[in-house]
Amino acid sequence: MRNSLVTRLYTRRHGIHVGEDQFGNQYYRNPNAHRAPGLLSSSEKRWVLYNGAPEASRVPPAWHAWLHHITDEPPADGGVPDRKPWEKEHAPNRTMTAEAYRPPGHTLRGGKRAKGTGDYEPWLPS
C-alpha cells in the first residue's frame, strides 16, 4: 500500500521537506496551512510519507514528538536529544508478524505453561 494520490499531490504542491528518519520515512511541513480554530501555538501542518506501508508505529519517538507539535524543531536540528546508549532501537508494532508477542504457554512458544487449577497428570501406557 502506498500513500494516496491526494496526499502525494498535496505534498508536491505545499510540502517543505524537513528530514528523513532511519527507516526512510519522509517528513514534511506546510507553514501556511489554514489555522485550525483552537490550535494554540504552531499553525503549521506536519505530516509523514511512509517508506512502505502506512503504519503509525513506524514513526520513531523523536519524529513522533515533532509530528505532534510536542517540539518545534525537528530531531535533525536538535529538537529532541539523541538516543541514550541504553535506549533500545525503535521498533514498529510487531502484531501479525512472526515476532509478535505470545504469552507463556502459547502453542507457538513451546506450549509449556505454568501449572494451573484443574491440571492433572494423565496415565499413559509405557
Binding site: T117, D119, Y120, E121, P122, W123, P125
Partner: protein
C-alpha cells in the same frame, strides 16, 4: 439440672456443663480461643469473660461450672471492655500479616477482632518474634502468630495420644515447641483445624487457595472403612483440600491424615481416556465405542464360567450393583468383592459388621483386638478406643502383632492358638472378658483374610457367645474392615454364585486358561501378573497395578467425582457427592457398565442415578436408610474348621499408602519418608 439466668432469661441446662456452654444453650455466642468442646479446659485465653452476679471481676465462662441460681450477663459494658482489653493484649504480639496468612478468612482471631479489636495500636515497642518449629511434612508453623491457647498441646496429648508438643517459657516468652521432629501421629492434620490462628497451617495446601474461592461439598471418605464425614473443597474440578465434617457417631470432628492429605493423588496418574490393546500388544488410545466393541467382541460366544469379575476397595455401591447385574446378564457366577480373600460374607449380616458401632465403643468395658492394628487400619476408630480408654476401666487385649496403639494394651499372643486359649477360658484375659458387662471383640482383616479365616470367624463368634458379648441391645462382635467398599459389596451379594469362583479361584482360572476374561472394577490390591493369560478389562480412575495388566482400560471416576453410596464398617449407609467432574473422557462408574451392557446384548434396566438407587434399595433394603443404623440380626455365620498356626498380621503395613489414590499422592510419599521408613531401618531389616 441447674437453672440459671443468662442476660435476664432463665435457662435450664444439663448437669455438669460450664457457663460458656450454658450461654450457648441460651443462644448467646461467647468468643473463645482456648476452649474446645472435645479437649480439656485450659482457661488461659481469657476471651470468654462474662459478668456474674456477686463477682467483682468478670469470670472466664469456660472454666466456671454452671450452678443453680447464677446470674450471668454476656453483653454488658464491663464484659465488652474486658474482652477488648484481652484482644488488645493478644494483638500486641500478633503480626499483621493476615493478607499473606493461610488462615485468612477462616481465622478465629480475625473474626473476633472484628467485634472486639481496637482499630489502631497503642503498642510502641518491638513485637516479639518466635522461631519456627519443625512439625513434619503436614504442618507448617509460623510461630510468631501463636497466641498460646495450648489447644495443640491438649489435642496431641489427649486425642492423638502423642506427647510430642509442649510449651517452654512463660508469659510473653512462652513458646509452643516440639522435639524438633515431625509429629508422629496419624491425626496430626487436625492440629491445623483446631489452631484458632495461623500458627499451624497445612503445609501441602500452603498458599494454594483462599477459603472463599472454594466450593464446599459434603461427602464421605473412602480411604478406610470408617466412612469419615468430610467436606471436599474444590476450585474448578481440582480438589484443593479435604476437611472433616461433624458426625458424632463416626468421626466426631476429626479425620486422619490420609483422609485429609491424600487428595493430591487425584491429580496424578489419572486414567482419562479409554485404551485398547492393539495387535502389536501395545495399549492404544481409543474411543468409548471402540473399547466397548473390543470387549463385546471378546465376550461373544464365551460362557459365563469363562468370565470373572473382581470389585475393588473404593467402589461405590452403585457401580458394584451394576457390575453384579452385568455379570448376571453374562450368566457368570465368578464374582467377588473380597480382593484380600477374607472369608466373610457367607451368612448373617452381623457376621461382617462392626456391630458395636463406633459410638458404642464408649460403652464397652473390655475389648479383644484380634489380628488388627486399628491405628493403621482405621485411625478414627482407634481414636474412639483411646477416648474410651481415657475414661478408665477399659481393658484391651491384643492377639496379633505387638504395637503401640496410643493407649495401654495387654499383649496376649500372636496367633490363633492364643485365641483358642481365650475361647477355652484358659487364658487370664478370659477372666477379664467374663467379668466385663459389655465386652467386645474386634476381628481384623489380618485374622480373616487367610486360609483359616472362616475358622477364626467361627471362633470369634464362639468367644462372643460364650463371654456374653451378644446381649439384648448390645452386640460386642465386630469385624473391622479396611476397604470402604467391602460392606456395600457384601450387602449387595458380590460373592461367588453357586459353583462360582472367588478371587483366588479367578486368578487360578486365569493362569490355567479356564477363565478367559476378567473384569476388574478398580481392583488393584493383588498380584495382577497372575492375569497375564487372560483378557483383562480394567475400569478405574488411576493407572495402578490393574491398569498395567489390562487389555482394555475404561476410565472411571474417583470418589470425589461421582455421586456414590458407601457403607462403612458399621453398616452405615452414607452418600458421597460429586465435588468436581472426572477428568477427560472418564465417566461415572455405573454408567460405564450400563453402556457396556448395551454392547454385550442385554442392557441393564436403569438409565439414571435415581433408578440405580431404586434398584439398590430393592436389592438390599438397608440402602434405604441413609445414615441410620439398624442392629443386624444375630444369625448363623462362620464355619468351624482347623485353625492354622500362622501369627496374625495386620494387612496395612504403611498407613499412608493403602490405595491407588494415596499411593499416587506426593504428600503421602513424604509422610512415608518421614514416618515409616525411619522405623523400618530401626528394625534392622534395612540394608
Amino acid at each position: 439440672m441447674p437453672t440459671l439466668e443468662i442476660d435476664g432469661k432463665e435457662v435450664t441446662v444439663p448437669q455438669g456443663v460450664n457457663v460458656l456452654q450454658a450461654c450457648e444453650i441460651a443462644g448467646h455466642e461467647i468468643p473463645r480461643f482456648c476452649y474446645h468442646e472435645r479437649l480439656s479446659i485450659a482457661g488461659n485465653c481469657r476471651m470468654c469473660l462474662v459478668e456474674m452476679e456477686r463477682s467483682p471481676k468478670p469470670i472466664a465462662s469456660c472454666h466456671m461450672p454452671a450452678q443453680d441460681g447464677m446470674k450471668v450477663w454476656t453483653d454488658t459494658e464491663m464484659v465488652r471492655k474486658a474482652r477488648r482489653g484481652v484482644m488488645e493484649f493478644l494483638l500486641i504480639n500478633h503480626p499483621l500479616d493476615c493478607p499473606i496468612c493461610d488462615q485468612g478468612g477462616e481465622c478465629d482471631l480475625q473474626d473476633q477482632a472484628m467485634a472486639y479489636g481496637f482499630d489502631r495500636s497503642r503498642y510502641e515497642e518491638n513485637k516479639r518474634a518466635v522461631p519456627e518449629k519443625e512439625m513434619g511434612p503436614l504442618i507448617k508453623t509460623i510461630m510468631t502468630r501463636c497466641i498460646h491457647c495450648t489447644r495443640c498441646i491438649r489435642f496431641a496429648a489427649e486425642v492423638a495420644g502423642v506427647e510430642e508438643i509442649g510449651a517452654v517459657g512463660r508469659g510473653e516468652h512462652m513458646e509452643i515447641t516440639t522435639l524438633e521432629q515431625a509429629i508422629d501421629s496419624e491425626l496430626s492434620g487436625n492440629l491445623v483445624d483446631i489452631c484458632p490462628v495461623g500458627a499451624l497451617t497445612s503445609r501441602p495446601y500452603a498458599f494454594s487457595a483462599r477459603p472463599w474461592e472454594l466450593r464446599k461439598t459434603p461427602s464421605v471418605d473412602v480411604m478406610d472403612a470408617v466412612g469419615s464425614n468430610i467436606r471436599v473443597d474444590t476450585r474448578g474440578r481440582d480438589v484443593m483440600r479435604v476437611l472433616p465434617r461433624l458426625h458424632e457417631d463416626v468421626n466426631e470432628e476429626w479425620i486422619d491424615d490420609k483422609t485429609r492429605h491424600a487428595c493430591d493423588g487425584l491429580r496424578r496418574q489419572r486414567l482419562d481416556r479409554p485404551f485398547v490393546r492393539n495387535k502389536k500388544g501395545r495399549l492404544e488410545e481409543a474411543t468409548w465405542d471402540e473399547a466397548f466393541t473390543a470387549i463385546a467382541k471378546r465376550l461373544k460366544g464365551k460362557t459365563g464360567e469363562q468370565v470373572g469379575a473382581i470389585a475393588g476397595d473404593q467402589c461405590d455401591a452403585e457401580s458394584m450393583l451394576a457390575l453384579r447385574d452385568f455379570m448376571g446378564t453374562l450368566g457368570s457366577p465368578n464374582l467377588d468383592c473380597r480382593q484380600d480373600g477374607a472369608k466373610i460374607g457367607q451368612g448373617a449380616r452381623a457376621g461382617y459388621l462392626f456391630n458395636t458401632t463406633i459410638a458404642g465403643i464408649e460403652e464397652a468395658d473390655a475389648c479383644l483386638l484380634v489380628g488388627t492394628n486399628p491405628r493403621r487400619e482405621a485411625a478414627m476408630l482407634n481414636a474412639r478406643l483411646r477416648k474410651r480408654f481415657l475414661k478408665g476401666g477399659f481393658k484391651v487385649g491384643v492377639v496379633g502383632e505387638q504395637m503401640d496403639l496410643t493407649y495401654q494394651t495387654e499383649y496376649l499372643g500372636a496367633g490363633p492358638e492364643t485365641l483358642q486359649q481365650v475361647a477355652d477360658g484358659k487364658h487370664p484375659f478370659a477372666e477379664t472378658l467374663k467379668n466385663a458387662e459389655k465386652p467386645m471383640i474386634v476381628l481384623g482383616q489380618g485374622a480373616l483374610a487367610r486360609e483359616d479365616g472362616a475358622a477364626v470367624l467361627a471362633l470369634g463368634r464362639q468367644i462372643a457367645e460364650s463371654f456374653g458379648m451378644v446381649q439384648e441391645a448390645w452386640n460386642g462382635f465386630n469385624v473391622l474392615h479396611t476397604a470402604a467398599a467391602r460392606v456395600a459389596g457384601l450387602d449387595l451379594g458380590l460373592l461367588p454364585g453357586t459353583g462360582g469362583r472367588d478371587v483366588e479361584g479367578i486368578l487360578q482360572g486365569a493362569e490355567t486358561g479356564e477363565i478367559d476374561t476378567v473384569y476388574l472394577l478398580a481392583a488393584d490390591e493383588f498380584d495382577t501378573s497372575r492375569l497375564d493369560n487372560a483378557f483383562v478389562v480394567y475400569q478405574g480412575h488411576h493407572g495402578d497395578a490393574g491398569a498395567h495388566a489390562a487389555d482394555v482400560i475404561l476410565p472411571g471416576a474417583a470418589y470425589t467425582e461421582k455421586n456414590g453410596t458407601y457403607v462403612n464398617t458399621e453398616g452405615r449407609v452414607q452418600l458421597g457427592r460429586l465435588a468436581g467432574f472426572p477428568p477427560g473422557e472418564a465417566r461415572d462408574d455405573w454408567s460405564i457398565l450400563r453402556a457396556l451392557s448395551a454392547y454385550t446384548g442385554q442392557a441393564l434396566p436403569y438409565d439414571n442415578l435415581g433408578q440405580v438407587r431404586q434398584k439398590l434399595i430393592e436389592t438390599a433394603d438397608t440402602f434405604a436408610r441413609i445414615d441410620q443404623l439398624a442392629p443386624a440380626e444375630w444369625e448363623a455365620f462362620g464355619t468351624r474348621g482347623k485353625l492354622g498356626g500362622e501369627p496374625f498380621r495386620s494387612p496395612v503395613a504403611n498407613f499412608y499408602m493403602t490405595d491407588p489414590i494415596s499411593r499416587n499422592s506426593e504428600t503421602m510419599a513424604r509422610c512415608t519418608e518421614a514416618f515409616i521408613l525411619p522405623k523400618r531401618e530401626a528394625t534392622g531389616t534395612h540394608g
